[in-house]
């Protein structure tokens, strides 16, 4: 299958390894992976801030960039939710509405693509560590992804998955919210980070690089041990 990568701007600039890991997993499964360098950002920062005109121009551009793609796969529940859930709302009633719905129908978050579209749960990875999974809110509630990442993790050799008691709680990132209301954002990190840390797992697995930024940032500041890792990086590892 021909798969087009959707690399969120944050991954492009700050965590490029996540993009490479996604590529590695998909190629290992025998698919052809492409990256269209014309892509930039999904426009979520403007959309969430209320600047819909600006977000709309970014969205229309993304429709052009991914024109003709068979499947678009991105390693972020949040950015995929922007394309799948919010582009059709943003472009409703415009000449671009149909194209937005078309892109929405073929854009997938990495873990759901593997499980729901490719029907794969065992990608042949090995990760000899205890992990807990952090649900990103956009993946969980906008895209309704909850089981896919867990199914993938359970199939990883030598991996122990332990659930935390605040699995469905937000980490407090929320984009610009994290710097406009830093005290609330940090209080939320305390709650979620505390719950994740109580599992005493070596790694916190996430499908959202910006949740990782928030949690790692807080753990590091607090000199706490656990670190996050992207699901794609767990799945890319191993001796398969």
């Amino acid at each position: 299958m021909q798969i087009d990568l959707f690399i969120p701007c944050f991954v492009d600039q700050m965590t490029p390894g996540v993009g490479l890991a996604v590529t590695r997993v998909l190629e290992r499964l025998g698919h052809t992976v492409e990256f269209r360098p014309a892509q930039t950002c999904c426009g979520q920062p403007s959309f969430n801030s209320g600047y819909w005109d600006e977000a709309r121009s970014v969205a229309i551009r993304a429709l052009d960039v991914f024109e003709g793609a068979q499947a678009v796969v991105g390693p972020s529940g949040s950015c995929v939710a922007m394309m799948r859930v919010f582009y059709p709302q943003l472009l409703a009633g415009t000449p671009h509405e149909t194209r937005a719905l078309d892109l929405a129908s073929k854009t997938f978050e990495f873990s759901e693509f593997l499980v729901e579209k490719l029907g794969v749960t065992d990608v042949g990875a090995r990760f000899p560590h205890s992990v807990t999974y952090h649900d990103g809110c956009h993946g969980l509630r906008e895209l309704r992804i909850q089981q896919a990442p867990r199914q993938l993790l359970r199939a990883v050799k030598d991996l122990e998955l332990i659930e935390c008691d605040e699995a469905e709680s937000c980490c407090g990132f929320g984009g610009l919210f994290s710097v406009k209301f830093p005290m609330i954002s940090t209080a939320m990190a305390e709650v979620k980070g505390g719950s994740l840390a109580r599992t005493e797992c070596e790694y916190i697995v996430s499908s959202d690089p910006t949740c990782q930024l928030q949690l790692d940032g807080w753990f590091s500041k607090k000199k706490m041990k656990p670190r996050t890792i992207h699901l794609a990086e767990v799945l890319a590892g191993g001796d398969a």
Binding site: I7, L20, P37, R141, P182, T186, M188, V191, G217
Partner: protein
């Protein structure tokens, strides 16, 4: 006994926002308070989930409840007059109030006309919305809240902390001290004894009161009845014993038929408090009839608009009129749990409050509540009538920008869109950002500073994904 009116403290534009930021910062430092509230809600999650599990299909029940409210709200022009006709056929008198001021005037006039001395009240957030107690006290009337939680808040001189659990932030010992101070009772740690103290104090007040004021949970159009949900029996006494019963309700509380209550009453209880049904659900059909031994001699219903028709005119946010004030969205909201109820400075706290307060009091002064959200969506999932709560926060943000964009912020987003449209510029900008990040962390410009105060930032990688991809192929 005067209720301190924290809900009107924001008088000037920007003052509400600054107060919010100040109070939020102060509240998040109070770790004891935050964990106390979390612990209280922990018990609620357990009972709520065990009740939800008794539904054959909770999600289907949500559909049914949402449909009942949706069809009623969308037929309000037909159902409201029908309700009024049927209610008045039962001998009650309806008064229409366009806004809070009109509602206060109507109620104060009714109280005055009844030559009342003492007034007893049961729990009603709509009376909080119009600041009724203040208005009555200004006229020299003594108003006593008969709901235990509201009574405690009245003694404390505070507004409700949570619109369903008004005193959820108060510890048992504090209630004991409060009763000792105001009612002269012996200290006790027993919840039952504390309840009995309030109950003994209240009994005579019901008998002495000339006017009883209640709210309404639902207005049943086909029968003209008012449905009131409660757990203490205080609303029944408030409605039944005094000579005059005055109920205040928003016009959006209308439902078509009694059958709608079959789904709405249990869902209100389960979502709100984790109960299968609240202890008392009563339908009121009017004042005492000739052949009836008791009941109020007069029954008035004040129907309040106060921005509800404006929300009705907005198809995007019309579903916020579905709200049955169960409080489920507050109970799951990480913002509410971390900043507490008072920080909002509103009558209705939490996510639904952040959606509707801008409609009640103006978007420019209250949009900050819509911004103070990570948009996690827990509220929308919890809502028994499927209000699209967290997306309405996005709609409020957009509407606020449309009404008055902030110049600097607007330029920032225009610049962002300009760069995002040009991959070469985007790549160059990214490179510049990565290259200068170490330096930026030292000089800590605004926004980055807010991040760095409580969180670290990893070093930027030497190469972007697009560079690595190019090298790869």
């Amino acid at each position: 006994m005067s209720v301190h009116d924290a809900t009107t403290k924001a008088a000037l534009p920007a003052e509400a926002k600054n107060q919010f930021l100040h109070d939020a910062a102060e509240h998040v430092r109070d770790i004891d308070h935050r964990s106390f509230v979390r612990k209280a809600l922990g018990g609620y999650y357990v009972t709520r989930d065990s009740q939800k599990a008794k539904y054959r299909d909770w999600e289907h029940a949500r559909d049914a409840a949402a449909l009942a409210k949706w069809s009623a709200v969308n037929r309000l022009d037909e159902l409201l007059p029908l309700f009024v006709t049927n209610f008045e056929a039962g001998g009650g008198i309806v008064h229409f109030a366009r806004d809070a001021q009109e509602a206060r005037t109507i109620i104060v006039d009714l109280v005055r006309a009844s030559n009342a001395k003492a007034i007893i009240k049961s729990k009603c957030m709509t009376t909080e919305e119009i600041h009724l107690n203040d208005a009555l006290e200004k006229e020299g009337y003594v108003v006593v809240e008969s709901d235990l939680g509201e009574f405690i808040q009245q003694l404390r001189g505070e507004p409700p902390y949570h619109f369903v659990f008004p005193c959820m932030h108060v510890r048992r010992g504090e209630i004991s001290d409060l009763f000792q101070k105001h009612l002269g009772t012996e200290p006790t740690q027993s919840p039952e004894e504390l309840t009995m103290i309030a109950r003994r104090y209240m009994r005579q007040l019901y008998v002495d009161a000339d006017v009883g004021i209640t709210g309404a949970n639902f207005l049943v159009a086909e029968t003209g009845q008012i449905s009131i949900t409660e757990n203490e029996g205080n609303a029944r006494l408030t409605a039944a014993l005094p000579r005059v019963h005055i109920a205040l309700s928003g016009i959006e509380k209308v439902v078509a038929s009694l059958a709608d209550l079959a789904v709405l009453l249990p869902m209100l209880a389960t979502a709100g408090t984790g109960q299968p049904m609240t202890c008392y659900n009563t339908l009121y059909s009017g004042p005492q009839k000739n052949d009836e031994p008791d009941g109020p001699r007069e029954m008035h219903l004040v129907l309040l608009d106060n921005a509800r028709t404006a929300i009705l005119a907005d198809p995007e946010q019309r579903d916020s009129l579905h709200c049955i004030r169960c409080g489920a969205c507050l109970n799951v909201c990480p913002i509410f749990k971390n900043v507490g109820g008072f920080t909002y400075g509103t009558t209705y706290q939490g996510p639904i409050g952040s959606v509707i307060t801008p409609h009640l009091r103006g978007l420019s002064d209250w949009n900050h509540l819509s911004s103070a959200s990570s948009l996690c969506g827990a509220c929308t999932d919890a809502c028994p009538v499927r209000i699209d709560i967290h997306h309405h926060l996005l709609h409020n943000r957009r509407n606020a920008v449309r009404a008055s964009p902030k110049r600097l912020e607007h330029i920032g987003h225009q610049l962002f869109a300009f760069v995002a449209a040009r991959p070469w510029l985007f790549a160059a900008g990214g490179k510049l950002f990565r290259w200068s990040l170490g330096f930026l962390k030292k000089i800590r410009p605004p926004l980055l500073r807010q991040w760095l105060e409580t969180r670290d930032l990893p070093p930027a990688p030497p190469k972007s994904f697009r560079q690595l991809w190019k090298e790869r192929s």
